[in-house]
Amino acid sequence: MKFFGKRSAGNGNASRQAPPTVRSVMYSTSPLLASKTPPWRSKFLVGLVGLGFLVLVGRAGYVQIIGNDFFLKQGEIRYARTLDLAASRGRIIDRNGQLLAVSVPAPSLWAIPKEFQADRSQRQKLARLLGMSVAELAGRLDDSPNYVWLRRQVDEQVARDAMALDIKGLFQTREFRRDYPYREAAAHVVGFTSTEERGQEGIELAFQKELEGHKGTRRVVKNRLGGVVEEFGEGVPPIDGRDIELSIDATYQSLAYQRIRDAVAEHKAKAGSVVMLDAQTGQVLALANYPSYVPGDRRNLTGGQLRNRALTDVFEPGSTMKPFVVSLALETGRVNRNTVIQTAPGRMTIQGATISDSHPHGALTVAEVIQKSSNIGTVKMAMQMQPREMWEIFSQAGFGQRPQINFPGAVTGRLRPYKSWRPIEQATMSYGYGLSTSLFQLARAYTVFAHDGEILPVSLVKKGPGESVAGVRVFSKQTAQTMREMLQMAAGPGGTAPKAQVMGYSVGGKSGTAHKQEGKGYADKKYRSWFVGMAPIDHPRVVVAVMVDEPGDGKYFGGDVAGPVFSDLVQKTLRSMGVAPDLDVRPQIVAQNIPAVEESF
């Protein structure tokens, strides 16, 4: 308004000369327009606009050509996501496809304590779901303000229920856990993994490389809702771990575990082990130890539970060595099965040390030496041999050699070089003292007799039906057959282990009993009892070795303690393998037409 007023005041002179009408305003003569625009001004403007365009073109050139990579990358970061593709760890299955170890989803629950908001009842419900008290839960949450695991690897249902409580600050992460359906029965063979699914023991450790999967990735475009709308670039497909097919038969494995567990309980023993080998192929059908553990729940474990005794514990093989010495004597023609050896009076002295039998037997044939397990008889045969011969047979049978088996912790055992053997040592070694072996090695050594004189390579992984096994010849077929007959006598009436007999099947085997070594000497009242045998004797299908550690109920002979376990196992196994019985089953009570003793009256 003010401005208008001033302007009208300024025009005062002109309005006096000519009456002011709208028409009369002469724009062309307006003094404001009178001054001429200098031409540089428009040129300057045009120049500015042109320069602006140039800058834009330059910028475009920079973005499109020079800095192209950078901008493309920045753009991609804003819309593209890289997703990890989880690869699952391979399964471990038995020879019939039964699952021994498998990965199952197990979400882990975690919380951000400073965001954690839950009322009393929610806390109570959550604590119950997680299997802890409310106080424990509160203690967990106090650990750190930013991040705490509440419980790792819970069941899926538990996680679902916990998330359904709708607590703020509670989250879950997808993880996988190993599930072991056969639990403690197969624990020592299968082993277990860490929380990160890395193998720690057993097959899980031995085949970590094969079982392990490799994570993949894919590049995707995600929309506002988090859904994948497009995939681009070359992703890396995830590679699942390979399944490992073991030679173990889960049924026999469970059976072996149950039997050895019951035997350990019955004889108040400390521990026990069973090894069952296929006598045709050398594959391990069962390998069980007691005490064992549940691989899924490894709290409060002791070393004794974890130890795979059949493979890691060594002991002196005792009488179970005699068949090797006697076979060597047969093989070299020093004796035949009917050669008579005088073992009376049940003791003999070599270099001042006395060797004795538990009972004096008198004159025995070679077959009876094995049957009665005579130390003297064996020593008399062994003393005719060179130490080198014996050593060679022992090491060919796998003693003092690490078993060629892909399994952690398998021990070598001990067999001293023959050059350092003194005669008394040669004598004691012939009946199994002064060298040591694991039960597994012992079972394998007996495949020599079971497989017609050839020792078989052992394996825990299933072989295809076409894969042939090449045994290494140790004895002739003839010797092995003769020895099997002798072993049958040992496991029959008049032998050391009649309790190892099996209804319907002929068996052969050798029992062993020894004082346990403690420090430098032998413990007086602590024993170890074992039995190694095979069945059926004409054409063995299985070799079974059973060992019971420190039986504590008075019975301690291998034939009494380990024999029944062998018998039970062999009977059930052979029947389920479909092996036809080769003995007539005799009912225990027979009503026969025998004249009765006349009653006195």
């Binding site: 989803p105 599930d179 029965a185 859904g227 469970s254 225990q588």
Partner: protein, 97 residues
């Protein structure tokens, strides 16, 4: 000439709209496919879990435990023979509901 341009313009607009629609459909379908695939993976894993669970319910150890603890069964040997005597119990049958 002008008419041709108009026709071409209309065709261009139509085709552009169609392109928009098709790419929208492609994304929607891809999203669905992706969701179905992850569902398939989830179900596969679930299947594996259930298989393992089913098996652990049928292992010899578990069967033995159930038979012993729940059903109170024992291994039979000739030593545990029980002789069942036949004795009619009319009183007992009346009491039974």
């Amino acid at each position: 000439m002008t008419r041709l341009s108009v026709v071409l313009l209309l065709a261009l607009i139509g085709s552009s709209m169609y392109l928009v629609r098709v790419s929208y459909d492609a994304r929607r379908l891809f999203n669905e496919l992706d969701r179905a695939q992850s569902e398939a993976r989830r179900l596969e894993v679930e299947h594996e879990r259930l298989k393992s669970e089913k098996q652990s319910q049928a292992t010899p150890l578990r069967v033995e435990r159930v038979a012993r603890d729940k059903l109170a069964m024992r291994a039979a040997t000739p030593a545990v023979t029980q002789y069942v005597a036949y004795a009619p119990a009319p009183a007992a049958s009346k009491e039974a509901p």
